[in-house]
């Protein structure tokens, strides 16, 4: 900005800087829901060509570099399916024998991750599936390795995922034997080099050996039970000494995930049949008193 004499107008420059910073600070102070709504609106209008371009880039990457990995996974899965056929048939027979209803299959929606090269990229992921594909808020998001997070905000064609490395992430967790329950949240590894998870809320009487695998507990209604989260790698410190804290090495890396699965309803694949409503129970006439 120059004044009438052609000199640099420092005051005008400063005013514009202050204005820009004021707009930026207003954006930072904006309530989360407003900010997410605004971002989704811009993504589906002004930045739609950019999002489409990024989707094409991610698809190119998958077809060029991930194809060998996908083939290996497909071969391993084919072997597993072949080996599990007999067990599955036995399981179905046993379920019929005890009149247990069939296990529900977990429907899912596959989506590509549109990464950005900024330091906060792994905290939230932008995925190329939205409400038009059947994605809803709070749907769990997993990768082949394990839990990534949940759908934070849904747009018509793209959604934002809050991953486990976000400071506000929480999930109820359980060990494979169901003995120890706790809550996982993001934490920093002791050497400080990377974000890991912490298993908190474990009673002092419970202890876990290093290497124990941790899964989602299914409590809270967001994540289904049994999604792998990570493995215990060390014991942390609770400053108050009220509980045990374990550091968990997560199985899934949000920063390196190129494709994810969004799990849709029903979220729990192992629940039992609901009990009959008391009103609908027909009591025998002999037991009814006048």
């Amino acid at each position: 900005m120059r004044d009438l004499a052609g000199r640099e107008d420092t005051r005008g420059n400063l005013l514009i800087l202050v204005g820009c910073l004021a707009v930026a600070l207003a954006g930072r102070a904006m309530p989360e829901t407003w900010a997410q709504g605004l971002a989704a609106g811009i993504r589906r209008t002004a930045l739609r060509p950019v999002v489409l371009l990024a989707e094409k880039g991610a698809a190119n990457n998958a077809s060029r570099f991930a194809i060998e990995g996908i083939q290996r996974q497909r071969d391993s899965l084919a072997l597993l399916v072949q080996a599990g056929a007999v067990t599955r048939r036995e399981n179905e027979n046993l379920r019929e024998l005890i009149q247990l209803r069939h296990r529900l299959t977990q429907p899912y929606i596959a989506a590509e991750v549109l990464h950005r090269s900024v330091p906060t990229d792994s905290r939230t992921l932008l995925i190329g599936a939205g409400a038009m594909d059947g994605v809803r808020t709070f749907d769990p998001v997993v990768s082949p390795e394990g839990l990534l997070g949940y759908v934070w905000y849904v747009g018509p064609r793209a959604s934002t995922v809050m991953t486990w490395s976000h400071p506000e992430f929480r999930a109820s967790a359980v060990t494979a034997d169901g003995r120890v329950l706790g809550m996982v949240l993001a934490g920093i590894a002791p050497e400080g080099r990377r974000v890991t998870l912490e298993l908190t809320g474990v009673a002092l009487r419970d202890s876990l050996p290093i290497g124990t695998e941790v899964f989602t507990a299914g409590l809270g209604g967001v994540y289904p039970r049994g999604v792998p989260i990570g493995r215990v790698m060390s014991i942390g410190n609770d400053p108050l000494g009220y509980e045990r804290v374990y550091r968990i090495a997560p199985f899934a890396n949000p920063g390196a995930s190129s494709h994810v699965l969004v799990l849709t309803e029903p979220r729990d694949s192992s629940y039992l049949a609901l009990p009959v409503e008391p009103d609908s129970i027909a009591l025998p006439t002999s037991t009814v008193r006048p």
């Binding site: 707009v23 930026a24 939230t124 932008l126 400080g192 080099r193």
Partner: protein, 175 residues
């Protein structure tokens, strides 16, 4: 008469420079959103959008650079909404600082360009993490590990671009 001819030529030069600048920015946008995701995913890779901001800032006034930073920061926040507004703050400050630094250093020197690219990326990353409300440990890791790595990769990409488009990106001194 002569003055009019010179001013006409100057205006034509400026509009040609502007058009060339937009072409370079367009190339960087395609590199950022299509070419890079087609080949690699992960941290520490060059940020071509930031590179576009740095190149524009080195060739414009601080006020223009601050507005460009606001626009780039807004795009970053919309596409990575981990902490909305943090990107805008970081990019406005970096754009402003680079445009102001141009008055001190000669921006046509390759070494100066490299310095701007590296420092710009490092400062942007540290600011972004700090404003996002990260812990001190995360900030320390970013400042000592990831920001320098991304700074180096962005500097390398920036230098290649500056060499390739040397005639287009020349800084003209206004008389």
């Amino acid at each position: 008469m002569m003055g009019t001819r010179f001013s006409d030529r100057g205006r034509r030069n400026r509009s040609t420079d502007r058009a060339r600048g937009w072409i370079v920015v367009l190339v960087l946008v395609v590199l950022e959103f299509y070419v890079r995701p087609s080949f690699a995913v992960g941290r520490g890779l060059p940020d071509f959008l930031l590179l576009a901001l740095l190149i524009v800032s080195m060739r414009s006034r601080p006020s223009t650079a601050a507005v460009a930073g606001l626009v780039v920061g807004f795009i970053v926040d919309v596409l990575t909404p981990a902490s909305f507004g943090a990107g805008m703050i970081a990019h406005v400050l970096v754009g402003w600082a680079v445009a102001s630094g141009r008055a001190v250093f000669f921006a046509d020197n390759l070494l100066v360009n490299a310095g701007f690219f590296f420092l710009g990326t490092w400062i942007r990353n540290v600011l972004l993490v700090a404003v996002s409300g990260a812990s001190m440990a995360e900030l320390a890791v970013e400042a000592t590990l990831w920001a320098p790595i991304q700074g180096l990769s962005t500097t390398l990409a920036g230098l290649i671009l500056v060499v390739l488009f040397r005639d287009w990106l020349v800084v003209r001194v206004l008389k």
